[in-house]
Symmetry: C2
Subunit: 192 residues, 2 copies
Amino acid sequence: LLTSSVAASSHCTTNRGPTVRNISDALQSNFGRRGLSHITIAGALSHGLKEVEVWLQTFSPGSRTPIHRHSCEEVFIILKGKGTLLLASSTFNYPGKPKEFPIYTNATFTIPVNDPHQIWNTSENEDLQLLAIISRPPVKIFIYDDWDMPHTAAKLNLPFISDEWYMPHSAAKLKFPFDWDEECYHQPKDEL
Amino acid sequence: LLTSSVAASSHCTTNRGPTVRNISDALQSNFGRRGLSHITIAGALSHGLKEVEVWLQTFSPGSRTPIHRHSCEEVFIILKGKGTLLLASSTFNYPGKPKEFPIYTNATFTIPVNDPHQIWNTSENEDLQLLAIISRPPVKIFIYDDWDMPHTAAKLNLPFISDEWYMPHSAAKLKFPFDWDEECYHQPKDEL
Ligand SMILES: [Zn+2]
Ligand SMILES: [Zn+2]
């Protein structure tokens, strides 16, 4: 009886693992994107967080994120390397020509809610390593083919695997779609 | 007319400063606590964030936070140094004897909502430097004199200066209370 009531009450919880964890021991994934290494330092699926999620991402020389937007707040801290932030606006029907900002070790910046953006590692030989902090996990990401695509045409990238705690080490084994229980999460407002 | 309408609409906003900022240029404060250096990397008051806030804090050898709790989620990343996390529970009427966890460079941990906690730099000669990420700024911190103080007796530490962007470089000039506009923030549920 005790066992089944525990099981029932933990329907929407996960094993948070040890209280203090070594980031160096965390599993990495690339979500099928060459040049990306992703670690969820603290997340919804792995550690039961509801309000924030913290990622450590490494981009190999020349690699980049897709052009995308999301309705959560996002803070970046550049730990290593350099590159470019491309940032457009959600004001008009499509992003349009983005503003370009150099990013560098020790730089920080915040992406305004729903503004389309992209991060490039423009270096030819150095990795770009950063911390990304998002609110209200799990993030729902809308992806643009280019800066002229209407906001309403951007494609929902679901399920986004915001947690590699369950992921195999090798990207080759990565399987989509990954199961999660949608009922266990807040429903953010994602549409523009 | 334009000027006054801009002023009116910005009643609850702040100058976010440049899009990409160098953390090395950020102002530091110690909020009157010897041994603490605090930088708000991204925050409510300085950068208009509503859902997350990111701090960079450095504790000199032997220094520590007060025993405290808050209703927001908090994620720590230890960048440098070592020390001890003391973590108690909100289950009973008072914290009681906390669990102790060694913390170290590259460690990460999450403080469950409302659980009383304290972080010590136990080193005799090395700084402890960490990133702290909180949800729903500005945080309202309740402080305990000791681990046997009832939760209901813990004192609200207000106003907590969660943003030193407006602060003088030298702690000697730091002034309490610091004005902010309470109406501009969400009202989190802070009481146990
Ligand atoms: Zn993003
Ligand atoms: Zn805390």
